[in-house]
Each structure stands twice: as structure tokens, then as C-alpha cells.
């Protein structure tokens, strides 16, 4: 894992908390990964607040780019989503808790129905839904999957009782037909925090999984920033695996250009600049005269915008990259504040042809893979720089700490090596050395903008950590170890490999850029007409 997860929360099929009606506890199991190569049903949950705060072009750009099958309106201000967007986009916009009839959308060739519950407490009329979909009520004709969206199931946290409980489940349950309680139905609530997943066990013993796709009003203490999540992508797979990730609508527009904040965007808009393309086309002299901008900041934001539109890395600084061929690494852990680095993925060579190696622990909490990794570093890879994305903040210190725990004698060997965090080098060192083309400066968006494509789907660092943690718990627990099922290590390693290849892709572009003279302004307005989609990348 190479980046922060604030924008990437995900959950596999059966993982989840132990919220139960009777206070008992439900054992979590290992999350399920999506079937390889399946394309999921994709929902975009969007708050009215996000719609109000962003330029319409930005929102439409996001929708175009993220390509959801359906949009779900969520709070705050869920009621404004549909009126604001229905004429701009060619997608159904669902909203739970309003209207007299359920909103229903059939995705794909009848693979998945997405149903938003209407207002009130009336039981759902499934015949009516079938009629809405022009289907017979015959069971054979029902979709293989179903997502039901409510706004009435929420979480309540009471630290004084030391308890967290789901509320609204019983009345929600009363509205759905019995045969919707199988594994083929996914229960989504816009009143639960995006990415939150829990298995709810009713008093009868039935287990139902609820997934949050909105904003929670529960008292989550210091565990969440008070900012609401403006938009979330929910990917639903046929085997019940889901993947939830946050997206920031602003990153699809001008605000997504590095160096443009709330004040500057006002100045730009006043000057008639509403898109990244407009910004690139603006003569530098005119741009530099706008309020709050001088020549150098005008140059900076224009370079950043150009990197975005041309999908290239543009040099802005003087620092060089090491001469020797680097070793690319990426670690997988048990969380962002981890206690292990159970997998160290290494790429020896370039993004395409390089040789990928996994140093993975062979038994839980056995550190032998660390030693093997250091042995390789000091042997075959002696003297080569070690490169990671966001490594100064994560991969490097985590490995140091792990070595301290398992092989204190190897700590110096490791810390004395030359480490390079190319994320830091690119964005921060001496004011930053390049403008990056990604919508955000996270590894995958940057690499994607440069042409890299992942080979794995529906999986991210958080999922991997969760799978590992669940497995480790089973193995180390006295009661569960017999039934422990090994995760699909290959899939997890493949994910890690994707990321080191992404890193190598970026590095290649950085090297090319570092050899060029920095900040040579390309004549504006000449090459800015290419790639309309790229404007919003």
C-alpha cells in the first residue's frame, strides 16, 4: 500500500461488525474479493451539498469520468441533487425517503435492480416494481442481485453506555418482502457513513449486512473529520463483494489543479475561466494580472493545468533523481497505523519488463521475510536507491519499526541505505520538482493519467489489510484457528505488483522530465485543444 486511505474505504462480502439486536456478538469472517474481470454495478452517492458547492461542469465531468450506472442523492441537502442535475446528465437519480413510489433502476441486462425506498412505512409492493420494470412477477425473471437504498437505518453511538447500535432496522425490515433477505440483496443506507459495513443479527438470528453510502450523524468522537464526504462510488459485484471509495468532485474541475484554492477560483471565474482547458488557454500575462495572482503563481497554476490537460509530467524544479537504477517497493500492512508489513513487493527494473518479487511472511508475525528482503537488498541490489510513493511517511518508517522488532541488528543496514520518496520529491522537495497530471497526487490516479492500467479490480490497500487482519485473527485465536481459510495470496500480491509497476511508470516519466529544463512555458493556446475528456482528468 502506498497511499492514504482517507479516500478509499472498502469492504468485502462478509466482513463487518457485530451489531446485534440482543447485544450478542457476531464473528466476522474473511472478506470476499470480487470475481476477476467482472465489471460491477456502479453507484455514485452524491450529496446535495457537493452539488451546490461545485460548478455544474465539474459535477458532470466527475460523472462522465467515473461512469456510474445510477446516481443516489444523499444528505446533506439530498433534495437538491435531482433538480440540479436531471437536465445535465442522462442517468437515473434515486432518492430514498421521498415520493409515493419506489425509485427503481435495472442495471445491465437485468443483472441488478437498484431500488430506493419511498417515504412512509408502507411495505414495498414488489408487483408494482415488476410492473415498473415491465417484468412478470415470475421468480425466474428476477434479477440476480438487488440493492435496496434507505435513509432510515442509522448508527447510534453512546460512549457512556459503551455501545454502538443500529437503529431503524426493524421498521426497515417490515417494509421488505421476506425473500429479499437472502444474500442476493445488499442493504445500503445514506444515513450511514460511506464505507461503514456491519452485519446485523436480529433477534431471530438472521444476519443482514448493511453498508453505508452517505454521512452519519452518530457521535463518532475524534474518529472522523467533521467534513462530510461529498461523493462516494459504490461498486457491487455478483458474488456480493463491494468496493466503496470516496471521490472529491472538486478534483474534477479547476479546484483540482494544484495551487487553486477557494480564493483563486473566484478570481478565475470572474475572469471567465471555468475549466482547466480555459486556464491553459489564458495568456500568461493576462493571468498574472488577475487579483491575488502574480507572475510566478500564474505560471505555477498554468503549468499544473497543462500537466493535467496534456497528461504529462512537467518539470518545475532543479533537483535531480539518482543515477543508479532504483529498486521500487510497496508494502502491505494491517492498517494505516500498522503493526506489521507482511508483504514487501519489490520491482527490479522498469514498469513493463521489470521483475516483480514478493517478500511475504510465511507465518503470522514471523519476520523472516524482512531478513530475506534485506539480504536481497544488500546482495543483488547492493547500492541501489530504494524508491517508494509516500515512503517517508509510511513504507520506510514502517519497515524500520518492523526490523527493530524482529531484527534490530539489521536496522542500520536498512536506514543507512539511500531512500527516496518520489511523491515527496515531486510535490514538496524545494517547493516541488514537477507538476503531476493526476486528478489527485495519489499513486494510482497519477499513474493512470500516464497510461498505467491496473490488472486487479475491486481491491485496494484497505481491503487487503482487512483480509490479512481477519486471517491473522483466525490463525492466532484459540477458537478459530482450525477453521482458518488462507486468503488468495496471489490476488493480494498481484495488487501489490500493480502498485509497484504504477510507481515505476511514474518514475520513468519523472526521469524524463528531470532531464528537461524546468518551467519552459509552452506557448499558450497552441496545443490545448486536444483531448476533451482530458480536460477533466
Amino acid at each position: 500500500m502506498s497511499d492514504d486511505w482517507a479516500s478509499s474505504r472498502s469492504s468485502g462480502f462478509a466482513v463487518g461488525g457485530r451489531l446485534t439486536a440482543d447485544g450478542g456478538s457476531e464473528t466476522a469472517t474473511v472478506p470476499t474479493l470480487p470475481p476477476p474481470d467482472e465489471s460491477p454495478t456502479r453507484l455514485l452517492s452524491l450529496s446535495g451539498q457537493a452539488v451546490n458547492q461545485a460548478h455544474t461542469e465539474t459535477i458532470t465531468a466527475m460523472i462522465e469520468r467515473t461512469a456510474p450506472d445510477v446516481v443516489v442523492a444523499s444528505d446533506p441537502q439530498a433534495e437538491v441533487v435531482k433538480p440540479s442535475l436531471q437536465r445535465q446528465i442522462d442517468l437515473e437519480i434515486l432518492k430514498a425517503g421521498s415520493g409515493m413510489r419506489p425509485d427503481v433502476v435495472a442495471v445491465g441486462a437485468g443483472e441488478c435492480d437498484v431500488i430506493a425506498l419511498p417515504m412512509g412505512a408502507e411495505p414495498l409492493d414488489t408487483n408494482q416494481i415488476a410492473r415498473q420494470q415491465n417484468r412478470s412477477t415470475d421468480q425466474h425473471n428476477t434479477p440476480s442481485n438487488r440493492c435496496v437504498i434507505t435513509q432510515a437505518v442509522s448508527l447510534s453511538v453512546d460512549p457512556y453506555q459503551r455501545s454502538a447500535t443500529l437503529t431503524g432496522v426493524d421498521s426497515y425490515r417490515d417494509r421488505l418482502p421476506d425473500h429479499w433477505w437472502g444474500e442476493q440483496t445488499l442493504h445500503l443506507s445514506t444515513a450511514l457513513r460511506a464505507g461503514f459495513t456491519t452485519n446485523y443479527r436480529s433477534s431471530t438470528g438472521a444476519v443482514t449486512r448493511f453498508v453505508g453510502i452517505g454521512t452519519s450523524e452518530a457521535d463518532l468522537g475524534v474518529g472522523t473529520t467533521t467534513q462530510t464526504v461529498p461523493a462516494t462510488i459504490i461498486e457491487v459485484y455478483s458474488n456480493g463483494a463491494i468496493d466503496v471509495s470516496d471521490v472529491d468532485p472538486q478534483s474534477f474541475g479547476l479546484r483540482g489543479v494544484h495551487g487553486i484554492g477557494a480564493t483563486r477560483i473566484e478570481a478565475l471565474r470572474d475572469a471567465g475561466i471555468t475549466s482547466v482547458r480555459d486556464l491553459v488557454a489564458m495568456p500568461l500575462r493576462t493571468l498574472a494580472e488577475l487579483p491575488g495572482l502574480g507572475r510566478s503563481s500564474a505560471e505555477n497554476i498554468q503549468t499544473a493545468a497543462e500537466a493535467r490537460t496534456t497528461e504529462t509530467v512537467i518539470p518545475t524544479g532543479d533537483d535531480s533523481l539518482p543515477n543508479q537504477e532504483p529498486v521500487f517497493i510497496d508494502i502491505e500492512t494491517d492498517g494505516l497505523n500498522p503493526s506489521t508489513a507482511w508483504l514487501i513487493g519489490v520491482l527490479d527494473g522498469g514498469p513493463a519488463e521489470g521483475n516483480y518479487m514478493s517478500f511475504r511472511e510465511q507465518a503470522v508475525d514471523d519476520g523472516a521475510h524482512l531478513e530475506a528482503f534485506i539480504t536481497w537488498l544488500t546482495g543483488a541490489a547492493a547500492g541501489r536507491p530504494i524508491v517508494a510513493w509516500n515512503g517517508y511517511d509510511f513504507d520506510f518508517p514502517v519497515i524500520t519499526e518492523q526490523l527493530r522488532e524482529h531484527y534490530p541488528g539489521l536496522v542500520d543496514t536498512w536506514t543507512d541505505r539511500y531512500h527516496l520518496d518520489v511523491y515527496y520529491w515531486a510535490t514538496t522537495k524545494n517547493g516541488g520538482n514537477v507538476a503531476l497530471p493526476g486528478r489527485t497526487n495519489k499513486l494510482e490516479p497519477v499513474a493512470e493519467a500516464l497510461g498505467w492500467e491496473p490488472t486487479t479490480n475491486g481491491i485496494d490497500g484497505a481491503t487487503v489489510a482487512e483480509i490479512y487482519t481477519a486471517y491473522r485473527r483466525q490463525i492466532t485465536s484459540e477458537t478459530e484457528s482450525d477453521g482458518a481459510v488462507e486468503p488468495n495470496w496471489e490476488r493480494l500480491e498481484q495488487y501489490c505488483e500493480d502498485d509497484v509497476r504504477a510507481l515505476a511508470t511514474i518514475y520513468e516519466h519523472l526521469e524524463t522530465a528531470a532531464r528537461r529544463e524546468p518551467a519552459t512555458q509552452t506557448p499558450t493556446g497552441e496545443n490545448s485543444s486536444q483531448g476533451s475528456l482530458a480536460d477533466f482528468s
Partner: protein
Amino acid sequence: MQPFRINMNAHDTRPITDGGTTRRQILSEEQLQDSFPDWRDQICHSERLAAQTADTVAPNTVLQEPLSSRLDHELYSHQADALELLANDENVVVTTSTSSGKTLIYQLQIARNHLGNPDATALCLFPTKALTTDQEKALNDGLRESLELDTTVGVYDGDTKNERKRRIRETANVILTNPAGLNVYLPRHNKDRGWHRFYSNLELVVIDEGHEYSGVMGTHVAWILRRLRRVLAHYESDPQFVMTTATIGNPATHAGTLTGADFQVIDADGSPRGSRDIVLWEPPLDEEPLEDYDDGSGDLMEGFEQARRSSAREAASVTAHLAINGMQTLQFTTARQGTEIGAKQAVGAARDHPREQYIDVEPYHAGLGKQKRRAVENQLKGTTLDAVISTNALELGIDIGSVDATVTDSYPGTKQSFWQQIGRAGRGASDALSVLVGGKDAMDAYILDNPAYLFDDETVEDAVVSIDNDRVFADHLLAAAAERPLTAADAPYLGGEDRFREMTAMWQDAGLLEQAGDLDASGVTYRGDRRPQSRISMYGTTGTDYEVLCTNGEIDHDPVAKERAYRDYHEGALFLHAGQQYEVTEIDHSQPHPCIHVQKVATSRYTQTLSEKQIQELEVRDHTSLAGGYDVYFGTGTVRITYGSYMVRDFQTGELVEGPLPTETPPLDLQTELLWVALPENHLAKTIDALEQPLLEPTSRAGSDRNVPNEQSRYTYGGGIHAAEHGIIQLAPLELMVDNNDIGGLSMLSHPHETIAGPTWFVHDGIDGGIGFSKAIYENIETLAERTAAHIGDCECGRRRGCPLCVMSEDCGNNNDPLDTATGAMILEDVLGAFEAD
């Protein structure tokens, strides 16, 4: 208690006189009769504290070479005692007086550690940044110059530049910071080799001015220190603790609650002191404004303000008198009075003095610009100023040299503040003079009546801190998880087995801790948004702080906890901050960033908030059963307070200008800790039967207040139980270092809870989740009831409805109605009788 020490050479035996005349003659009977305007025998007590010589020990008895020979002076006995305990691996809490050389203790311990292991590190926590800077210099002077050691000392806080921070992390032997800083630096322990070095070698943690950490702040500090110890355990560091504190009644317990470790107490002070005269000055009481109140025609607050004015005026006259007699005087004034007004009053009083004279007086408070403050500090060090009127900003840490005399307008609330203020006079070899002008509330009255309270060793307040607040715990648990994954081994540091497991399970259920993790099987990681530490506020327990924004200028105001925002900052509220008056123009309760908009105003008014209160959902945690159907309970409950209306009053006269006006403030629900005293079912009838005095006539306002009984016997008894509740809350600070602004009460003739058969009164924490105040009162209820009963009975007002000196409180949401001291004394005596019979 030996309350005061002068930092001077142990061998200094100069006589403590001033040109042959002791300075106290200026306040002699003849002098005052001669020259004090309208002399009315205001001095009710004077105490002379004799000089005391030092008790010293040769350094080589406790220190090894080369330290002992490099130290060019003897050690005071308490310093030697502390060093010996530290050598025996004990943690030490030092409670000796101001300027008794407490710093030297940890300085020498750092030196010893350094000689034993040059990599050894120490972490020193100070309550304020100003103190941190002072101590950096002191430690550098001591360690590097006097002791000739090669130690690196660095201040590490929000003002430290990044480059310097990096150097300090990598090289410093001693890091000085504050607890709020530690809270946000702690998570870096494994991200940075400097921190790793520092924590792995940590041998000493110093907590300076430990008494400052009580209440809300104390709760947070206690959890931050536990998080620190838990991270240190991971590095196998087990440092010793040295805590210094002002004199408190429970040093070992307090230090233990803050850190979770065991402590030995050093309280036998070996430092010398000069002689000192302390005069208690009682302003003549003007009873007239209160008398009208008895028949319901007068307004109580007018009485308050006029009484308060008289103490401020008296203080100004005393300051002027001293200044005219050539004594440079520092006067501490109350927050509301304002230093600017105080300075004007002192100049005016000097003009009215029989020996009419112009005196140079300056105000001083934290709201003045830095330059202005430095100028006043320097003028004080010289002799160009006759007097300074200051807030308690000059109490702590700031070097102004010495003044000849201090005047304290109204008891500052704790002995520790009182002695700190007194300590500003006569530093050095001359004798010192201090005057306490009594203010108009129950605490001041008690002290003027019982001066022994101030001078007696036996009556020292306990510092109150609690780690029982589960909401605060829940937040720090998330912070701890973000520092290192939680495992079963953390339970001793993080709340104990059950509490730790239950709270961890709650956050797993809520998705903020990894649901798939297990405490007993490799641990539980944090899954919430990044940096939870940064969202912990030291000012409240709910995580909801109101930012204070000024619409027509700057305001440097700490964030306001939700409870206080509801009470004190409704639209239209007027308040004084750092010498400037402000009006609240808008309060925005909306999440995520609630804020209070204020504007600077020039007004001669202030506001007073009225409230209604309900208490429900009681749960008993502890119970003291007394004889005869009397019971005292401690537990939790929900207190719903509606601060519904407010009055606007004139600053000088207390006169009602407008009101009651609606506040538009929504009700505030506090889930908090409280105690209740449950009286027998027939207690009302029995008490009224035994009452020798006539029943009280309900006031006209009682008729319009649905919470006040309108029938005479119920009204009278209600007044009694209300008086008992007020009295105990107001006198609690005599026993406990609690801020009675954060304590509330409610008295009722009946309550539906099963534990309450008859009348009852509640005392509750005014902070969500509780901060240990009502628990401490519960534990000390008998002593407090005794003090209160005696005080109510003895109050010189002799009035049924009491006065501000006994049972009236300006914070009363019911406008002090009903109150009856006669019935109140009977109720308290009955409760005490039940204690004795038990």
C-alpha cells in the same frame, strides 16, 4: 503549611527591616486612623509570618562527583530528600512552596541520569508556553553552565521552527513542551528516528505545576500521559516521574491519577523565608440594598453589584494609601472589575486621600499588546511606577522582580493562587506586606471569619481530577489506536480490562477500529480518518468547541466548551475579555464548526442568564446510607438545562436595565455525574413543625416561576433546601480545587426516582460526562456540610433570606428565590445528625 518562601541564599541572615521601621507600621491603627479616609476599623485580622532559616544538607551526601563539587551551594533538605527517593527508583511529587527550588530537583536528576548514560533523555511538561521558555533558560544555565554538562535542551512546541524541531528530535537530551503539544507529537513516535531515539532513552518525565491539571484539562492530560506510558512500554522505557505542584491536600493521589503511577511525597520544606505581614481587610457592608429584597420589592443583583463595588473601591483606597506611603504596590483585581477601571479608581482614591497626591498607576492584563506588557513589566522592575492593577496574568512565571506590597481584591478562589499572588511582594531580603480585601461572596466571608483557614496546614484543598469520563476516554482510545494498534496488553494503561474491552468493541462496531481485528489475537488497528489526536480539544469533553470570532476587530479567545457556550454566549450576552467588553451578536450551533460571533462594544452593562433545569435517568453508582432514612447517593443522570432568558444590568449599580429577555438558546442535555441527598419522606412537615420562626411569604416573582412553590410552608422549606445546596456548592472550593462555575445544583421537594422518598437536592458536574467534581464533593460531603452549617448559622447578615456572603449566588438560575437560612441550617444539622448517628 509553610506557605511562602523567599529565594535567597541560605546563609543570608540580614535583619528584615526597612530603615529601622517595619513596613507594616504603614497599616498600623494610628496611621490609618490618621490618614485613611473614613476609617471604619476594616482590618479584621493580621498575621505575621516569622522569618525562617534554611535547613540545608551538604551536596555530597546525596550527589556523586563531579556534581556535588560543581554545585556551589548547599541543598535544601527537601531537595536532598527528593533526590534520595529518586535514587531509589521512586516517583516523586514535590509540594514545597513557591521559589523553594523545586526546579533544581529535576535538574539534578537529569544531570545524574546524563552522567550515568549520555544518551539518557528527559521530557518536561509545563502548563504554559511562557513557562516553558523560562525553564529552558534555567535548565541550560543549570546543566550547561553550573554543572558543566554537555546536555542539549530544547523547547518543542507550536512556536518552534520545523528545522529546529528536527534537530531537537535528533539530538536533545531534554525536550520541554506542554501536554497539548505532546498529544499531537506522540503519534510520530515510530515515524521518525529522532523521536524513536528520544523515547527509547527516556529516563525522566517532569510534570511541572501539576495542580494546574484538574477539571477538564486534567482529564485530558491524564489520558495523554497514559498514552505516553503505553507507547513507552513498547520501547521498553519505564521512566521515573517528578511532579511539582503548589501545596495541595492530596499530592500522591493527584499525581497517581494523572499518571497512573505511584508517588512518594516531598512536603517538608527546607528553604528559608523572610518575614511577612498579611492583613485581612473587610470592607464595611452596606446592607441597605439587600433589605428591600426581603419583601420581594428589591432586586438582588443590585445588592451584589453595590457590594462588589465597595470591595473594589476599598482595594483602590488601600492601594492608594500604600503607594502614597512610598510602597510600590501590585493590586490583583477580579476579572469583571477590569484593570483599567481599577487603575482609575486608584488614582482617584489617591486624590481623595488626606495626603492628596498624584500616583502613577498602570493596568496590566493578557489582552494588552506584547510591547505594552513589557513596558509595564520594566517600569515595575524600576521605581517609576507607584502601582499596577493586574489580572491574575501576573500570577505565574513572568519576571517582574519584586514589589513592596500586594493588594488582593477578593479571594482568588484557591490558596495556591492566593499565595502565588502574595509571593509577588518582598522577593529578596526585605520584609513584605500583603492585604486581602474581602469580596462579596461566601468564600471570602468564610475566610475573613476563619482566618486560620489561610494559615493552617490542615486545610489544604485537594486537587480534583478524574479519568471516569467515558466520552473523553473514547476519544483518547482512538488516538491511542492511531499511535499503535491496540492489544490486550494495553488494558492497564487504557482504562483497565473491562472498560478497555467494552470501548474497543464499541469503536469496532462503529467501524472506527478494524472490525476484523481482535485484542487477543494480534491486535486492533485504527480505521477512522487520519490524525484523530488533532481533533481532541483540551477545553471540553464533547469534542464540540465554539470558536470565538470578532466581527469588528481581533479577539484572542480560547475555544469555548459547549456547556459554557450555551450558558454564557447567547445572542445579546455581554462579557469582558482581556480588558475589553464584547457583545455576542450571533451564536451558530451548527456542526461541524460552531462559532460565536462577537463585537467590541463600549457599554456600562452586563448580562445575567436565567435557567430552568430537570434531572432524570438517574443511575446509582455509590451510596452512603445514614441513620433515620437519610441517604447520600453518587451516580449519573441526564441534566437538561434551558438557559431561557437573561437580564441586562448596569455595571456600576447592578440596576436592571432590561429583561428578562428570551435567549433563543435550545435546551442543553448533559449526561453527567451527580450526587443527591435524599431526605426522609416526612422531612418537610417535621422541619416546618419544629421551625421557631414564622413562615416566609413567597415573593411576587415566585408566583410567576412555576418551579417555585407558592404555598408558605413549601416555599419556606424549599428555601431551606435551596440554601443548603447553594451553601455546599459555594464552599466546596475551600476543600477541593474545583471551579464552581462547572458545578450546578438543583433542589426539589420531591423527585420520582426510586431512591428519593422525600425532598432532595442535587449537585452535578456542569460538564458533559463529568470531570470528578461532584464525585469529590460526594466523598467530602460530611466535612462540607459541617462547614456550610456553621457558616450559614454564623453569617453576620443574620437575615432569613441570606446574603451574598452566605447562601446567595449570582450564578443562580432562579434569581436566588426561595432561600431561607433558618430552615437551611436545620436541614444541614439533620443531615449531620444522621451522619453522627450512623
